[in-house]
Symmetry: C2
Subunit: 191 residues, 2 copies
Amino acid sequence: MQELKERIAKEGKVLPGNIIKVDGFLNHYIDTELMDHIAAEFGRYFNMDEVDVILTAEASGIALAAIVAQHFRKPMIFAKKAKSDNIEGGLYQSDIFSYTYKKKVTLLVSKEWFHPGDRVLIVDDFMANGEAMRGLCDIVEKAGAKLAGIGCAVEKGFQGGGDRLRAAGVNLHSLAVIDSAEPGNIVFRED
Amino acid sequence: MQELKERIAKEGKVLPGNIIKVDGFLNHYIDTELMDHIAAEFGRYFNMDEVDVILTAEASGIALAAIVAQHFRKPMIFAKKAKSDNIEGGLYQSDIFSYTYKKKVTLLVSKEWFHPGDRVLIVDDFMANGEAMRGLCDIVEKAGAKLAGIGCAVEKGFQGGGDRLRAAGVNLHSLAVIDSAEPGNIVFRED
């Protein structure tokens, strides 16, 4: 998606440790107009008539997922994050490793809000190692729901999370895949 | 707002400790159509031509704030929550007490995304003791920005947070104020 790539190239910051900050429009200060363009772009890759619900993980995915869901008149669920082993019942849960927090995090969704056979589109703002995506896919499977696909705005292609999901047969579309990133030189994968 | 009150009365659950769960439409499973109606209702109370940016706090306020911001074509900022005393520079921050987590939480917004004089509308899904709102107001003041008002979906009126803000002269509008809550009997304040 050209508009997104241009914003990343212009405003993204590359920090030590291959961290790419895009918090001026995607995940701290949110450019809602751009989010709505991203929603429309997802509509080119996924048949939204065959999607029942949008799923994301707190916190930074929520803004994009909410606008995508609203754009296509779908409900939205966000998985909560717990940093405890002491989880109450009535929840689908999946343990992931958070590279941000350097520890295990549990993704949780109340069983009340999933129905077997629900067709689920996962939406997230950012993917690196793909741990959050893996956990969300796990929850979809545990719920007996059907994964329609994954729509991701920005993927760090060089960390491999997206390619592992593609190799596993997941219908994943990222709108900007970054193949390498150094200060002043962000290289995108060809569409 | 009649539609919101009816949903709370019909689907809200009152748990021990005066906890009111509305996570079937407001803050876990999100009814985006209702969120858009809430956005339109805020437009009756606040002059959106005089609002530059929408501010909320992670995580549960983000979905509503994103849809409100998108409805009125505004950008949105969400304050991040840190559970550490070791905060890096370049941030506006405010310490609040989280009744959910029973501990101090620090709200953080990067200084980059606020500009002195910005007219800020705070939006949140839920208010009880008003600690998150107090912290967000504090950040607006520290940034030299101007508080246009606070739009809240559901307020637990009997916990006093909203009334304290009103008494302090804040332009606060909650679309459903709950004055008492027992299982099967949720009483709303008259508009």
